[in-house]
Symmetry: C2
Subunit: 153 residues, 2 copies
DNA sequence: TAGATCCTTGGAGTGCGCTCCAGGCAAGCG
DNA sequence: CGCTTGCCTGGAGCGCACTCCAAGGATCTA
């Protein structure tokens, strides 16, 4: 038995959820600028992602232009999420390599994601700490503003 | 009436809370390497902060060496918090300029902090979104790991 | 078929936040 | 006295994640 992440595909590219965000239904070929529009990344960045191995090699049209698939969009959605966590690009490339290497890397992928999860939790806690400081200062300035206003009155 | 942020000082440097984190009591003069040890920043970075205007001009010993005060440490603590929010250094410099400019910049400081607060809230929400994705993937790999284990049995 | 627009490539450039270097001064110690 | 250690300066360098450039080929619209 082989476990795949989505039920309807043969190879595990660790694709994102089946829910396309705002994706023309029934379509499965996108030019680079269409993908740029859908993802918010620039075409430059998409090509760069491919060069550094963060994307698999993208299908090409008969004239050599890139044609992205829905699967590629799924992967980019995941990359976007990982990027939001602050994960370095090098680590994402490592993850992409594990995915390409096949099922026997499940344990390592698990470990990488678990570590990332811990980092995210720590980061959230950190931000909540700074939020407390900000709130203290903000209420100080709010009070000070009121005091100055009443002074003028 | 003039409102100051801490009750025991005359000038408002928007100092951090009176609770020193791990600070030798009764001391009010620190060398750059002591400050580096206390803050986790490097001496290089401390000098650089001063050059770009993120720190006020630091007191000097008779031989020209920097002598940081507890007030400077308070300010560095705030800077550290703001840095954790992801605020660009340029914005922190802007805030520092407002503080140096005097009480009439309270409204602007308030605005800056309020905006930062919104950013932090948005960032936390973002991270919680990525956490959901991570959790989904992690449980996938955990299940897959169990399936592979039972296969070997 | 002309002209505008889009896509291709390798490699160079950018902005940020540090990080380090060279060369030199000052203080403490055996 | 020499040695080590710590600090000073302006300016160069670095790692990251893009971002852009030049020169040329492909595709679309009238």
């Amino acid at each position: 038995m082989t476990v795949t992440e989505t039920t309807d595909t043969r190879t595990d590219t660790c694709a994102a959820p089946p829910q396309g965000d705002r994706r023309p239904d029934g379509k499965d070929k996108y030019t680079i600028s269409e993908v740029a529009a859908l993802t918010g990344l620039t075409a430059h960045t998409l090509r760069w992602y491919e060069r550094i191995g963060l994307m698999p090699h993208i299908d090409r049209s008969h004239t050599g232009q890139r044609r992205y698939t829905n699967r590629d969009l799924d992967w980019l959605a995941l990359v976007g999420k990982l990027r939001l966590t602050g994960m370095p690009v090098a680590d994402m490339v490592r993850y992409a390599e594990l995915v390409r290497a096949g099922d026997h890397t499940y344990a390592e992928r698990f470990e990488l994601l678990r570590t990332t999860r811990e980092d995210v939790l720590a980061r959230i806690a950190e931000l909540q700490g700074t939020l407390a400081v900000l709130d203290r200062k903000i209420s100080f300035y709010a009070d000070a503003g009121r005091a100055l206003a009443s002074e003028r009155a």
